[in-house]
């Protein structure tokens, strides 16, 4: 048996995690990443044998929700196995060191692993007024990112703030917040968007890098296709109701009780690419639509400025009357609305709208 693998399995055993549990986890992870399900075993072996690469985690203009999403995922935490397979050398929320010692740990890790370490960023980077709106140890986020990224093998932008600017970037964007990819142009960047991102998506990207030494195939927004290849709507269990033209009109009507489609209540599922409908949240319990609330579109750029969360995608920017289109036509209507959605989303960016309690009560 490979020594490293043996030690890894022993370490897992000491945490009460058996080899079969690990294999099971890897099989699930591999299939979630659209790798062949039988690749789970190879995946497990590579993870167990792999060296522990240095990871520097930079938290900028953020709420720590992304870290919480990962560290609070399962208990006892199979997702957290990832921390056994990396050397997390800097993470100012999790590390014991503080002050100068913490910053020294980052510099030491960079020097020791120059060109090989992985940088994870959560949070956007403020650029206005010299980047003074968010600093760590007296260093602006901008300067810290530029310095740390230089020796990185790759960067993973965790969460919508790091990937697309997120909420700090929302209109009027007082700090001049931008995404990592707006600043760093010479390194491979993977965007794992979501507010917060799904834990297994974070783990999956890291696991692929650790096990296979590669980054996943990305979509046009730099997101892993395996998780962001389809819309929430494509995989929604309420999709049959959309196709039949059965919609909840308010959050407490007969349609809502029957679990009908939440499109008319503002669900952004048709224009949102993410894996919530398949991986779900809270140990696979459910996802927002399953709890009776439409998707907010949190994994998409500018989601905060894309109009009220409670207005149907089709209404504000173009006066398409859903009734006029004939909802019974289902799939045909779906195509028409999808086209209108894109136009609406672009239009809504320009006209920022604020959701109020009245929006919630208003009938579409």
């Amino acid at each position: 048996m490979h020594d490293k693998e043996g030690m890894f399995i022993q370490r897992l055993a000491s945490q009460g995690i058996s080899r079969r549990a690990f294999l099971k986890y890897c099989a699930t992870l591999a299939s979630l990443m659209a790798l062949p399900p039988t690749a789970g075993k190879a995946f497990a072996e590579a993870l167990a044998k792999g060296s522990r690469p240095s990871v520097i985690w930079l938290s900028f203009q953020e709420c720590t929700g992304c870290t919480e999403s990962l560290t609070r995922s399962h208990a006892p935490t199979l997702e957290n196995l990832i921390f056994d397979t990396i050397s997390l050398d800097y993470h100012h929320t999790l590390q014991a060191a503080a002050g100068e010692a913490a910053e020294q740990a980052r510099l030491d890790a960079m020097k020791k692993n120059w060109g090989k370490y992985l940088v994870i960023v959560d949070g956007s980077v403020p650029t206005k007024d010299g980047g003074m709106y968010s600093c760590i140890a007296g260093i602006s986020n901008y300067d810290m990112l530029m310095e740390t990224a230089k020796g990185a093998a790759a960067i993973v932008s965790i969460g919508t703030c790091a990937a697309f600017g997120g909420i700090p970037h929302a209109n009027p964007n007082p700090t001049g917040a931008v995404a990592v990819s707006d600043i760093i142009k010479d390194k491979p960047i993977v965007n794992v968007s979501g507010c917060p991102p799904i834990p297994v998506v974070i783990t999956g990207v890291l696991a692929q890098y650790l096990a296979l030494g590669t980054l996943p195939e990305l979509d046009n927004l730099g997101r892993p296709k395996a998780f962001f290849g389809e819309t929430i709507h494509d995989r929604c269990y309420r999709r049959p109701f959309y196709d039949q033209g059965k919609f909840a009109k308010t959050f407490d009507d007969e349609g809502a009780r029957n679990g009908w489609c939440l499109y008319e209540l503002g669900c952004k599922g048709p224009v949102t690419y993410n894996a919530c409908a398949t991986t779900k949240w809270n140990e696979g319990t459910s996802f927002p639509i399953e709890s009776g609330h439409g998707c907010l579109g949190c994994s998409e750029p500018n989601f905060w400025d894309a109009g009220s969360f409670y207005r149907p995608l089709s209404t504000p920017s173009r006066p398409i009357k859903i009734a006029e289109l004939g909802l019974a036509a289902g799939a045909v209507v779906g195509v028409a609305i999808a086209i209108a959605n894109r136009s609406k989303k672009a239009g809504a960016k320009a006209a920022h709208q604020i959701a109020t309690v009245a929006d919630l009560e208003k009938k579409p």
């Binding site: 048996m1 693998e5 043996g6 399995i9 995690i17 058996s18 080899r19 079969r20 549990a21 690990f22 294999l23 099971k24 986890y25 099989a27 699930t28 299939s31 979630l32 659209a34 062949p36 399900p37 039988t38 075993k41 399962h74 208990a75 006892p76 199979l78 494509d234 995989r235 269990y237 309420r238 999709r239 049959p240 109701f241 809502a256 009780r257 029957n258 679990g259 398949t278 140990e283 696979g284 319990t285 399953e290 009776g292």
Partner: protein
Amino acid sequence: MWLEDIPVNVSGADEFLTGNAAAVLREIASLLEQLAQTGEGGCIDLASLPFTSADRTWLRDKLGKGEVEVSISAGGPSTIVETGTPGVWWITHRNEQNAKSGEFIEVTLVPELVATHPADVLSGLESLNKKIMN
């Protein structure tokens, strides 16, 4: 009024056959043929397909019920059930909270997760020998 007093019924969405089960059945037949000819089968991930309860029921009915049923307790319960079509196994993984975390159809002689790993045989032997010595 309590939250649980509000009647919510979402079972309707699961009453439809999407057509995916029929496609999966053909894929299973193809893997089974491959297993018979080369000894190498394959695996289908049901969790990544839009599959309704009606699809599952349809597929289970077509595959039937076999003789072997394995329960595994590792990182949550798992069941590995041979269907009425020998060589076709229905695998359901659940996590520690008993939520379904994966569902596969494996076409193989013996599912991989059932077999004991050689390294575990050695550590088992070591542990057994210690017990004999004491």
